[in-house]
Symmetry: C3
Subunit: 431 residues, 3 copies
C-alpha cells in the first residue's frame, strides 16, 4: 500500500516537473554562467537563427538532464533532419553492427534479433562471432575514450557536427573527419592531406581541391558508403555488390576527371588490393603451419582465452594485439595497419602511403614473420620441421597430430586426411 | 703591482667601450645589409613601435656581440616583462632542473647548491642522479640541435617568441608550441590538432577552438604547469599537490564546459594513467627477473657503463636507448613513447592517440617483451628458469645468486632473504 | 612496292589529320561535359589569360590523344618556359639517372649511352648497377602509384604544377612539395612544417616564414639542387664539389641570417652526418661478419635472387626490404629511414626529427641489430663465433672459408689473406 502511494506521489511530481517546461529564456540566465561556451555557440548557430531553443533538443525535464538521461542522440535530430538521417542510416556509419563495433546497442530502431548475433537472450556477455572483439579486452575507461569517441557515430550526430555550434563550416572541413579517420590503422585524413587533392585544397580551398565530403558525401548525402567496393576490413565485395558502387564512384570522379582516367586509377587500387592480400595470406599460412606443429610461443592454450573464441587460434579480423605471440602480433600490424594503408593509400592517390607506409611495411613485416618462424622452428629440437609437415616429423605421432589439426581447421578434407594418415602409418611400418 | 695596473687599464677600456654606446640608428646602416631579416622583423614588431632599439636588448659592446658573449637571454627581457618572467619561473618551463635536462646551468639566479645534485664542486662531470642522462651520451652537435633547441626554454624567451619578430600572433598560434611538443615521445601538438578542440580551431579559429594557450596559459600566464597533476615522466602527484592543480584545470575547462563533464573526462585520464602504468610495471618486473638470473643479453656488466649508474641495471627514467639489450630497448619505447601517448592522448581527448598510438602499442610491446624473455630463457640451458626462481634453478648455487640479487635491488627484505636462503639450503641437503 | 604505297597513304592521312586541327573553341563544347574540372581550371589559369588554348599543349590529333599518345610532358612546356626548363634539367629533379629511379627512359634528350649503364643494347632487363633496384621487385601497379607518381619529375612539369590550373599559388605552397617529400624515408615537409621556419610560415605567411621554395628555389630557379652538399643517399660530396654548393646555401641563408650563424648551423649538420654514418657502418660491419660466417638467416644463396646482384649479399643503396633476412631489414630501416631523418632533420633545424625520429632510432636499431646478431651466433652451435673469426672457429676449415669470403668482398688484401691463412694452418698443425 505504502509503495503504491509513493509511486503515485512520484508520478504526480514527474507530471508537475514536465509541466514546468523550460524554454531558452529560462535556461539562459543560469547557463550563461554554468556552460558559457554552449550558450555562446548556440547563439552563433543556425539553430538560434531558426529559433530552435534549448528545450527543442534537451527537453524540459531538468532533473532528467542532470541525471544524464536526456542525451541528445540521433532520434532527437531526425524529425527535423530527415534526409540526413535516412541516408546516414543506409551507410556504414549508420549501421552499428558493421561500423567496427559489432554492437548495435546504440542504434535506435535496431532489429532486436541482431543482438542474438553476439548475445544469448538478455545477456551482456558475447556469445560468438562479432566483428570486433578488441573492445572486450579494454577497460571501461579506454572503451569510452579510445573507442566510443568514434564508435558512437551510428546514433550520435554530434560525432561530426559538434554539440551547440552547428556551423556547416565545421563539418565541411575535412578536419572534422580527421578526428576518427586518422592514425596507424586508417590514416585517410593524413593520406588525403598530402595527396594532390589535399594539397590543392590547402592552396586554393574547396572549390579546387576536393575534400572527403566532395567524393564521399556528394550533394550532401550522409550515405558515406557510396562508391565503396570493399568491407571495412578491406575485403572486396562480390561483383554484384561492388560493380554498381564502382560505377557510382566513377560518376563522382567524373565531376572533374575523364571517366577512363578515373576507372584506370581505381582499377589499379583493385589490383594492389589483391597483391597485398596475397602477402597477408602468405603470413597467415606460416602462422597456421606453426600452430599445427605446436610451435607458437605461447600456444593459444597456454594464454588467457580470446574473449570470443577461447583458446582457439584466431587470425581473422578478431585477431588480438595482446595476450598473443610475437608472430601473431606482427600479423596484427600487417593486417590492421600495413594492408589498410597500402590499399587506402592507393585509392587516395598517395604514393608515400601506398608504398612506404603500406607496401614496404607489408613486405618488411613478412621478412620479420619468416625470421620469427625460423627461430621458433630452430628453438624446438624435437618438433617436426614446419616446412616438411607430412611425415618429416620426429615421430609418426607428431605427424598424425599435425594432420589432425589441419583437418580440424578445415585445411584438408576428410578424404585427404585419411590418405595422408595412411601414408604416415605405412612409412612408420616400414621402419 | 703590474697586475693591478693591467686591471685598471682594462676597466678604463671597458668604461670607454660602454660610453661609445650604439643605438639603432648606428646599427641599421650595416645590419640592413648583414642581417636584413632581423632588421625587417624588428621594424614590424611591437618593440619598434615602442621605440625599443637594438641597444636595449643587445647592449652597446659590439666586440662582445661579435664574440657571441652578448646573448639575449631571459635576464635581458625580464626587467620589462616582469609578470611573464615571474610566472614562467614558477612553471615547469622555468625550472631547469625539472624541465627534462637535469641541469640548471642556463638558469639565471639558480641555487648554486643544485649543481651539487649532479656535480662535484667545479666539475662538469656528472656525479650521480640527475633527471635525464640521455644527453650525456650525445655528441655536442646533437646536444645542440636535438636537445638544446628545446631544452633552453628555462632561460631563453626566444624559444617561443622568436628573436626579432615579437608579434603575439606567433606565440598565440599552437604551432609555436609544436616545435618542441611533438614527436614520438610527447606528440601534444599532433593529438591536439586532430582532437575536437584542434579541428574546431582549424575550422573556426581561436574564438571557437581552444588552443594550447587557452588551457595551459589562461589569461596569458606563463605558468604553463597550471592544472597539471603529474610529473613530466607521467607519475601522478600526491593528492595534496595534485588536487589543487586539478581544481584549477576544472575551472579552466568550465570556461566552456560544465564542471561535472570536465571532471568526468579528467578522471578518466587518471584511471587510464593507472592502468597504463601497471602494464609498464609488468614489463619492468620481467626485466628485473631476467637480470636476477643473468639472462639479459648483454648484461649491464658486459656493456659500456651508464653515464650515471655505471654497470648497474637502470630501468627508471634514466633508462637509455643505446648500449643496452633489446628487451630494455623495448621498455624504453614503452615508457617514453607508448605510456606518454596513452595518457596525454586521453587528457587531450584524442582517441587515435589514446588507443592506437598509445594503449595498443603498450600492449604490443608487452607481447614482444614476453617473447624476448621467452627466447632468452630458452637460449640459456643451464640457467634457472626465470619463472620459478626460488629453488627451481639448476643448482642451489644459482638459486642463492638470484636471492642475493633480489636483496641487493631491494625486492626482498633481509628477513625474506634469510628465510628463502634457508629453504634453498634445506632443499639442497635433502638431495 | 606495296609497302611503299601503304607508307605514302598513311603519310597523306597523317597530314590530313593534322590539317583538321582543333582549337579551344572546338574542344570546349564537348569537354565542358566530359572533363568539366579541366575546362574550369584552364579558364581560371594564366594560360587562359594569355590565350594559350587546348591545342597549344595537347596538339590537334584527337585520335592520338584518345590513344593516350599525346602526353603533355616537359618537351611541350619547354619552348615557352625556357629558363625553368633549363634550370630544372641541371638539377637533381631533372636528371633521371640520379633522381632515385636509376632510369632515364623518361628523360627527353638523354644520352643514349646512359641506357648501357643498366641494359644490354635494346634490352629492357637490368644488367648491373643502377641507383635503385627496389622498383624492379614491384608490380607494375605499385610501380605506377607508389613510385612513378613522384619519380616522373624529370620529364613531367605536372608533377608539381598540376595539369590545367597553373596558378602559381599552388607551386609556391610547400604542400606542393609535400606530395613527394614526405614519409618515413625523407619527411622534409613534416620536419619543415614543425620547425621554426614552418611555424612562422603558418602564423604569418611566406613573407616571414621561409618555405621550401625560399631556400631551395631562390629567385624562382628550378635548380632545386642548389646548395645541396650530399648525394640523395646522404653521402657528402667531395670538397671540390661540396664547398661551392655550401657557399651558395650560406648566401641564401644570409637573406635573413648572419653568415656566421648560417655557417655554424650547417657545419653542425655536417658533423652529425659523419657521426650518424659511423653508426650505420658499425651495423654494416656486424652483418658482413655474420655473412662471412654463413650466419645470416636465410643466407643470400638461399633466397630469391636480388634483381641486380643475384645471390650476392647487398648492403649498399641497392639493399632490399623484401626477400631478405631480419637483420638486413633492420639495416634497411637504419639507412633509408633513421639516417635520412637524422641528417635532414638537422639541416632543417627540427629537434624532434634530428633526435627522436632520427638519432634515437639509429641507436635503437643498432641495439636490435646487435641482439639479432647475438641470437644468430648462439643459434649456430657448430659455426665459429663471429667475434673471434681468425682461428676461433670450430675447425680450421671454417676459419679458411671465412678468410676466403673476406678476400672476395675486399675486406682483406691478398697479402693479408696469405698471412692469415698461414696462421690458421700453423695453428692446425700444432694440434
Amino acid at each position: 500500500m505504502k509503495t503504491s502511494l509513493k509511486i503515485v506521489a512520484l508520478s504526480v511530481a514527474a507530471v508537475f516537473m514536465s509541466l514546468s517546461s523550460l524554454s531558452a529564456e529560462e535556461c539562459l540566465p543560469c547557463h550563461r554562467e554554468k556552460t558559457p561556451a554552449a550558450v555562446r555557440q548556440w547563439e552563433s548557430s543556425a539553430h538560434f537563427k531558426a529559433k530552435v531553443g534549448c528545450e527543442k533538443c534537451h527537453g524540459t525535464d531538468h532533473e532528467k538532464m542532470k541525471r544524464g538521461e536526456a542525451r541528445v542522440d540521433m532520434k532527437v535530430c531526425a524529425p527535423c533532419h530527415k534526409k540526413a538521417f535516412e541516408t546516414h542510416r543506409q551507410s556504414r556509419h549508420g549501421m552499428g553492427l558493421h561500423s567496427g563495433w559489432g554492437c548495435t546497442r546504440n542504434l535506435e530502431g535496431r532489429n532486436q534479433r541482431e543482438c542474438a548475433f553476439c548475445h544469448d537472450k538478455d545477456s551482456a556477455e558475447p556469445l560468438s562471432q562479432v566483428q570486433c572483439a578488441r573492445f572486450l579486452k579494454q577497460s571501461a575507461d579506454m572503451g569510452e575514450v579510445g573507442c566510443n569517441y568514434c564508435h558512437s557515430v551510428e546514433s550520435n550526430c554530434a560525432s561530426c557536427h559538434t554539440n551547440h555550434n552547428t556551423d556547416l563550416k565545421i563539418v565541411r572541413d575535412p578536419a572534422s573527419c580527421a578526428k576518427c579517420h586518422m592514425g596507424p590503422d586508417h590514416p585517410q585524413w593524413e593520406m588525403w592531406q598530402t595527396s594532390l587533392h589535399g594539397t590543392l585544397y590547402g592552396s586554393l580551398g574547396q572549390a579546387t581541391g576536393p575534400t572527403c565530403q566532395t567524393c564521399h558525401m556528394p550533394q550532401g548525402t550522409h550515405d558515406v558508403s557510396i562508391g565503396i567496393t570493399m568491407s571495412s576490413g578491406g575485403i572486396a565485395y562480390p561483383p554484384e555488390k561492388g560493380k554498381p558502387q564502382r560505377e557510382k564512384m566513377i560518376t563522382i570522379c567524373s565531376q572533374c576527371h575523364a571517366p577512363s582516367f578515373a576507372s584506370r586509377e581505381l582499377n589499379r587500387g583493385d589490383a594492389i588490393q589483391k597483391q597485398s592480400l596475397s602477402i597477408v595470406k602468405e603470413a597467415e599460412k606460416i602462422i597456421l603451419d606453426l600452430a599445427d606443429h605446436n610451435l607458437l610461443d605461447p600456444m593459444p592454450e597456454n594464454r588467457p582465452p580470446h574473449p570470443l573464441s577461447g583458446n582457439k587460434l584466431v587470425i581473422d579480423s578478431q585477431l588480438l594485439y595482446e595476450d598473443t605471440s610475437h608472430i601473431e602480433r606482427l600479423l596484427f600490424k600487417m593486417k590492421k595497419y600495413d594492408y589498410a594503408r597500402t590499399i587506402k593509400g592507393t585509392y587516395h592517390q598517395n604514393p608515400a602511403y601506398a608504398h612506404w607506409y603500406g607496401n614496404a611495411e607489408l613486405k618488411m613485416d613478412l621478412v620479420d614473420i619468416k625470421a620469427e618462424a625460423s627461430r621458433l622452428k630452430k628453438g624446438s629440437k624435437g618438433a617436426p620441421a614446419a616446412d616438411s609437415p607430412k611425415t618429416g616429423g620426429s615421430t609418426a605421432e607428431d605427424a598424425l597430430r599435425v594432420l589432425q589439426k589441419k583437418l580440424e581447421r578445415g585445411a584438408i578434407s576428410e578424404e585427404e586426411y585419411a590418405k595422408e594418415k595412411q601414408k604416415v602409418l605405412e612409412e612408420f611400418l616400414k621402419k
